[in-house]
């Protein structure tokens, strides 16, 4: 019983780590640019497929490093060509644009790599269970959780220790003032978008080894990421992280008792948060208006 519960909690933690990685990227972009990036799931899939294509040449570890960077570059290009034009306009338009992009990315990956699920080789060292009692703790799963944690830690270091990160946080707070102080806001938003997409690409590479590789891989992860942001609190990155892990674990535990409600539970949590604490667990007061 305890082992079983641990199994589901651990599973939930992994899923939650995915949600958190996705949601952190979404949150970064939303906070600085006011854009809901509906195509985030598409970028995640792109990262996964890049890794798949690169692996025969540079191996698993090489792909793990290169694929997210490539995805981020695509993201930077997309921001330059398309999304940049919509800043300052009604958020409706950027939402519709990224919505269209999500269609194009999903269909594009299907067109290039085919609709079937593709095999994704993970190094043998990561697939063996670490203990017989806790059979579910394979190296890969542990590795994913650790890597997600490292990525999150890296993100927070960037945001608090580097010039770019400090400017991003300042811009989230008051973009006009940052601009007046001589910061190139266009470049800042561009890099910030790339950073968000990098996280999506990284989540994609990790997810491919766990969920299998198919064109819809990102679509199933994007809605919970929205919920993670709302539960955690709008405008707060630690909140987004907490929200992602929380709904992941909650859906993991519910799967054990009542599998049909796996998805529903996270929306119930969102409803409760909106009723009791509309700004979210760690959200700032007044962000909603």
């Amino acid at each position: 019983m305890t082992t079983q519960l641990l199994f589901f909690v651990f599973n939930g933690l992994i899923v939650g780590a995915f949600y958190a990685l996705m949601a952190l990227g979404l949150s970064l972009i939303l906070n600085l640019s006011g854009v809901i990036n509906f195509a985030h799931g598409g970028f995640l899939a792109l990262g996964a497929y890049f890794a798949f294509t690169l692996m025969p040449y540079i191996g698993f570890w090489g792909a793990l490093i290169v694929a997210p960077v490539l995805t981020a570059l695509v993201g930077v290009a997309v921001e330059r060509i398309l999304i940049r034009r919509l800043y300052g306009r009604d958020p409706l338009y950027s939402l519709l644009l990224t919505f269209g992009l999500a269609y194009i990315l999903e269909d594009g990956t299907r067109f290039i790599w085919g609709p079937e699920s593709l095999p994704y080789q993970v190094p043998a060292i990561l697939t063996t269970p670490l203990s017989t009692r806790f059979f579910f703790v394979t190296g890969y799963r542990l590795f994913m959780v650790v890597l997600a944690l490292v990525a999150v830690l890296g993100l927070f270091l960037i945001l608090t220790r580097t010039r770019l990160g400090i400017r991003i946080r300042a811009g989230t707070f008051d973009l006009d003032t940052v601009s007046v102080l001589g910061v190139n806001v266009r470049l800042l938003r561009n890099l910030n978008f790339g950073l968000g997409i990098y996280l999506a690409g990284l989540a994609g590479v990790l997810a491919a080894g766990m969920l299998g590789l198919q064109p819809t891989i990102g679509t199933s992860l994007i809605m919970p990421s929205f919920v993670a942001i709302i539960v955690g609190g709008l405008g707060s990155l630690p909140g987004t992280l907490l929200g992602g892990l929380l709904i992941g674990v909650a859906s993991g535990v519910v799967t054990m008792f009542y599998p049909s409600a796996t998805e529903a539970v996270i929306y119930v949590m969102m409803g409760l948060v909106l009723l009791i604490r509309p700004r979210g667990l760690l959200g700032e007061e007044g962000r909603l208006q």
Partner: protein
């Protein structure tokens, strides 16, 4: 509408005549009856969304949920309860409206992007219920094994199942009632308050308009008519599946409204006509229709943000 080269009454008369005669001219230009009915249903959905989007200035990206609830409401009523089309429509609309009233009350304090994001997320709840609750909803395969029932008017029966034209006119009657009610509401003091909120929410609040209540009411009214459209959509297909309430359907409604022109009453109907015909054509031509629809979204946003009627108007205005 004032800047249009034709005046408002003429435009309305023209639109109603076109719609009333549609079954007779559509085959001449290569359309088929079901396509015409689908345009009308989607047009109603887009116009209902626009009640909230264009006239209250609140962005909902989750209207497919209520559309789908209407669809499942009518299907399940006819399948499990009573084989009656009007009763099914009533139940479908009631279910959709009730859900909207509850969800609306929870989200009415949010604004802008956040409102949009929460409506997207809430939309998925109903998708997963329909998807997971296999025994009742048929799950991923959809709800089948029921069909629309003949209308019993007491003195005569109208066969809307076998006669496509008869069903079209049923849809047109529903459409006319809904459009008429929305037009009346928009001209009432209530509707004027909605416009005031759209233009300047803070000023509207200082003038003593209960903003939250108005937005909630606008959301519920909008969802009421969207669920009506949903019931008609299910009746049209004699079938419904979870895709009727998935997020991509919500996106389609929004693009129809934007494409036609959010600031005009009839715009979304025109947008729906363009979108439905285009989608029908593209999906018959290529397997990669998703890319084309996606590209279409991008192009509309970049080049037609004010919609078809918007361009029309800009040319006339200086």
């Amino acid at each position: 509408m004032n800047n249009l080269p034709i005046n408002r009454q003429t435009a309305s008369v023209f639109i109603w005549l076109t719609l009333a005669a549609l079954p007779y001219w559509l085959p001449w230009i290569g359309g088929y009856q079901e396509l015409g009915t689908r345009v009308l249903v989607m047009g109603l959905a887009a116009m209902s969304l626009n009640f909230l989007l264009g006239f209250t200035g609140v962005l909902s990206f989750g209207h497919a949920a209520y559309f789908g609830l209407g669809a499942y409401g009518v299907g399940m009523t006819i399948k499990y309860l009573v084989p009656s089309t009007p009763l099914g429509i009533l139940v479908g609309v009631a279910v959709g409206t009730l859900a909207a009233a509850i969800v609306g009350a929870m989200i009415v304090r949010l604004r802008g992007v956040y409102f949009a994001m929460v409506t997207i997320a809430f939309g998925q709840v109903f998708f997963f219920i329909a998807f997971r609750w296999n025994d009742v909803t048929g799950g991923d395969d959809g709800l089948s094994g029921w069909r629309r029932q003949p209308l019993d008017l007491g003195f005569t029966q109208i066969d809307i199942l076998g006669n496509d034209k008869a069903f079209y006119y049923l849809v047109l009657v529903c459409f006319a009632i809904a459009a008429g009610l929305m037009a009346v509401l928009l001209r009432s003091p209530f509707g004027r308050s909605l416009l005031a909120i759209r233009e300047n929410e803070r000023r509207a609040r200082y003038l003593g308009i209960p903003v939250e209540f108005h937005i909630w009411a606008s959301f519920v009214i909008s969802c009421l008519f969207v669920s009506l459209a949903g019931t008609l959509y299910a009746l049209l297909n004699n079938f419904t599946d979870p895709r009727a309430l998935r997020w991509d359907m919500s996106g389609n409604f929004v693009i129809m409204a934007v494409l036609g022109g959010m600031r005009s009453f009839w715009g979304p109907l025109i947008g729906a006509a363009i979108f439905v015909v285009l989608q029908d054509y593209i999906s018959s031509q290529t397997e990669n229709w998703m890319s084309f629809i996606g590209l279409f979204f991008v192009l509309v946003v970049l080049f037609f943000p004010r919609g078809v009627l918007g361009i029309f108007r800009r040319k006339v205005a200086p």
